[in-house]
């Protein structure tokens, strides 16, 4: 299939890049000095895009590639893809669900434990030589804390399963109630925030969920409450979050995602009640390879006119 031209939008994975190079004619968007330059050389040959959470396939890109047939995203999130345009033009879209569910849920749990039990703060305490001066202080107990999940999809359910093993009562807010679980459903996010101690954002980013965690929700969660975000930075009104943390109106936060990655509000750097990770939810050797394999399998299936493995559109 090396006559088929595939566009990779950013250097997301060496393994994936090599796999694509072996099978297709690979064009790398980041090697072009300008958009005009890129379009001049490639607009008529590209039949597939491999995008990710940084650069997907927006309207401009889609419109400029008349031969585009498929967008295969190296992510489960679709917020960087203009799905409506793809639908209109009959362009297929695939993502990488399931293979990364466990890893992202694990990071959510890691953030919860790190914030509640102050693991990172303890590590700093020891490394700074403070232990000989006196014991660390008391934190809250994690087991049994009430966990509220925004979005009970694959990742949200995986988080619930893990938190249950710690005796945490689970509640959730989702587009639809899931009666097959015995978790407590709330029909709106404010009620969920009022009734939980740890609020976890695990839903997809859409127009409806943009800034779903705003000042009102943060106030409802309160000065003892903890906010965990493994979704997308734009789920949370970031300036509101920062001021709530600085003013002590929110108890703590564990964040893997931010509104303008890789920029992270510097005011957070001095806070002990936050844990900050650089969007590593699915960043394990095992999972990134599995995601890459799924991208490749979807592309091959498409060009061999076989059913796509994980189609979205």
């Amino acid at each position: 299939m090396d006559s088929i031209t595939v566009l990779m939008t950013s250097p997301m994975s060496d393994y994936l890049e090599n796999q694509l190079k072996d099978r297709f004619n690979l064009v790398k968007l980041w090697t072009y000095s300008s958009k005009t330059d890129f379009f001049k050389h490639n607009s008529h040959s590209i039949r597939a895009i491999v995008g990710n959470t940084k650069i997907g396939a927006d309207a401009e890109l889609i419109d400029s590639l008349p031969e585009l047939e498929i967008v295969s995203s190296y992510s489960v999130g679709l917020d960087k893809i203009d799905l409506r345009k793809c639908q209109e033009k009959g362009i297929r879209v695939t993502n990488t669900p399931d293979v990364l569910t466990d890893d992202v849920a694990d990071v959510a749990m890691g953030l919860m434990l790190a914030v509640v039990r102050r693991v990172c703060e303890c590590d700093r305490f020891v490394r700074r030589g403070l232990w000989p001066k006196g014991d660390f202080r008391l934190t809250n107990k994690f087991s049994g804390m009430q966990v509220g999940i925004v979005g009970l999809g694959r990742i949200g359910s995986a988080i619930a399963k893990r938190a249950e093993a710690f005796g945490c009562p689970i509640s959730y807010y989702s587009r639809s109630e899931k009666p097959e679980t015995n978790y407590k459903y709330f029909s709106n996010i404010i009620d969920l925030a009022v009734n939980c101690q740890i609020l976890v954002v695990a839903c997809a980013l859409t127009e409806e969920t943009h800034h779903i965690v705003n000042r009102e929700v943060i106030d409802a969660l309160g000065p003892e409450g903890i906010l965990i975000n493994i979704g997308r930075g734009s789920h949370i009104d970031e300036p509101e979050l920062v001021s709530a943390l600085l003013e002590g109106r929110l108890g703590g936060a564990g964040l893997d995602v931010f509104e303008n990655e890789p920029e992270v509000p510097e005011q957070l750097f001095g806070l002990e009640n936050v844990v900050l990770m650089p969007h590593v939810g699915s960043d394990t050797v095992e999972t990134t390879d599995a995601m890459a394999d799924l991208v490749i399998k979807n592309l091959e299936a498409h060009f061999l006119k076989k059913p796509l493995l994980t189609p979205v559109v």
Binding site: D102, D103, D106, V107, M109, G110, L111, L113, A114, R117, V119, C120, C122, D123, R124, F125, V126, R127, L130, W131, P132, D135, F136, R137, L138, T139, N140, K141, F142, S143, G144, K161, R162, E164, A165, F166, G167, E261, P262, E263, V264, E266, F269, V275, L276, M277, P278, H279, V280, D283, T284, V285, E286, T287, T288
Partner: protein, 339 residues
């Protein structure tokens, strides 16, 4: 009109509960719970506070504690050695705020018929939570990547190196007691496979049992040390066990520092013979080997696994409950059984 009322004399003050009316409890060194709750103990018991006396310990005990029947201790402070026990002829109970018993001469207690009460399962969940927190941190580089972000490196140096998936990993639990069981229960929910080594096989679990820790290590990706420190377990985790665990292997210790041969652990970490470590305990606390401070694949905690408000409150209730039960000749709440 001002009237010169004959004022009735105030009632006589209630007699103060003299501390010598309360049962004596000898305390050599304040347990960590005393930082928060000492007054709760002082109200109910006459605390003989050896650490506050200018006298050397042996003198204090001889002069002031000969009728003390109960002692409250913890893992910190002087060990409750045979020497000390012999200076307390009335001693019938040693209550320790720890789950661990390695600081108490158990043989001397047994020979003298001295009962022991410990923390029981009061903080098994908290310790298990920290063990899992440390493990996730090592595998997914939580503390290391948090450092990376706080130093502004994400924007300048780019994406952080990949971690390792927890699901499917083989967890070897060393010591399947109350804490080990809580750890196993939690990690099962992450899709991990549990095996264990313990003094005895446990009938209530179906996890594979290994008779020796080296074999457990050879068949595990992770070792979590959840056992007590005894003569048998001192330095049980040595270079041989660590090499069996292997270059990708991770070790988590929430037991006692001396269960691991610390020098050999440090060497293995520095030389890349094992993949990483999460450590809450060390051989010479609060001293931590400085070589570990250079490593990003190590997460360090200052023996704080039980340091939660809930655990300390529960522990306080439990210790007071044990002492009250002892003095009213009722069964102890959390006695340590002779095995």
């Amino acid at each position: 009109m001002a009237s010169d009322q004959a004022t009735t004399p105030p009632p006589p003050p209630l007699p103060e509960i003299q501390s010598h009316d309360l049962s004596q409890v000898i305390v050599l060194h304040p347990p960590p719970v005393f930082n928060y709750f000492m007054d709760l103990f002082s109200k109910k018991f006459h605390l003989l506070k050896a650490w506050e006396s200018p006298l050397p310990l042996h003198e204090f005990l001889t002069n002031h504690a000969h009728s003390a029947q109960a002692m409250l201790c913890s893992g910190t402070g002087p060990s409750i050695s045979a020497d000390i026990i012999r200076l307390l002829p009335s001693l019938r109970l040693v209550a320790t705020t720890s789950a661990g018993l390695n600081h108490i001469d158990l043989t001397e207690c047994r020979n003298r018929g001295i009962s022991i009460a410990n923390a029981g399962e009061a903080f098994s969940e908290d310790v298990a939570d920290l063990a899992v927190g440390l493990l996730i941190d090592v595998f997914r580089k939580v503390s290391a990547s948090d450092r990376y972000v706080r130093h502004g490196l994400w924007a300048t140096k780019g994406d952080y190196p990949l971690g390792s998936k927890l699901g499917g990993k083989r967890i070897g639990i060393v010591g399947l007691g109350s804490i080990g069981f809580q750890v196993a229960k939690r990690l099962e929910a992450f899709g991990c496979n549990i095996s264990y080594n313990s003094r005895k096989r446990k009938d209530f679990v179906s996890y594979p049992f290994y008779t020796n820790v080296c074999e457990l290590a050879a068949n595990s990706d992770v070792l979590i040390i959840c056992c007590g420190l005894t003569e048998q377990t001192r330095h049980m985790i040595n270079r041989e066990v660590l090499l069996a665990l292997g270059k990708e292997g991770v070790i988590v210790n929430i037991g006692r520092g001396a269960i691991i041969h610390e020098k050999e652990l440090v060497q293995c970490l520095v030389q890349g013979e094992i993949g990483g470590a999460g450590l809450d305990v060390f051989e010479n606390e609060p001293d931590v080997p400085k070589e570990l401070f250079e490593l990003d694949n190590v997460v360090l905690a200052p023996h704080m696994a039980v340091f939660t408000t809930e655990s300390f409150e529960d522990l306080c209730d439990l210790m007071i409950g044990n002492l009250e039960a002892f003095f009213s000749k009722k069964p102890l709440l959390s006695p340590v059984m002779n095995e």
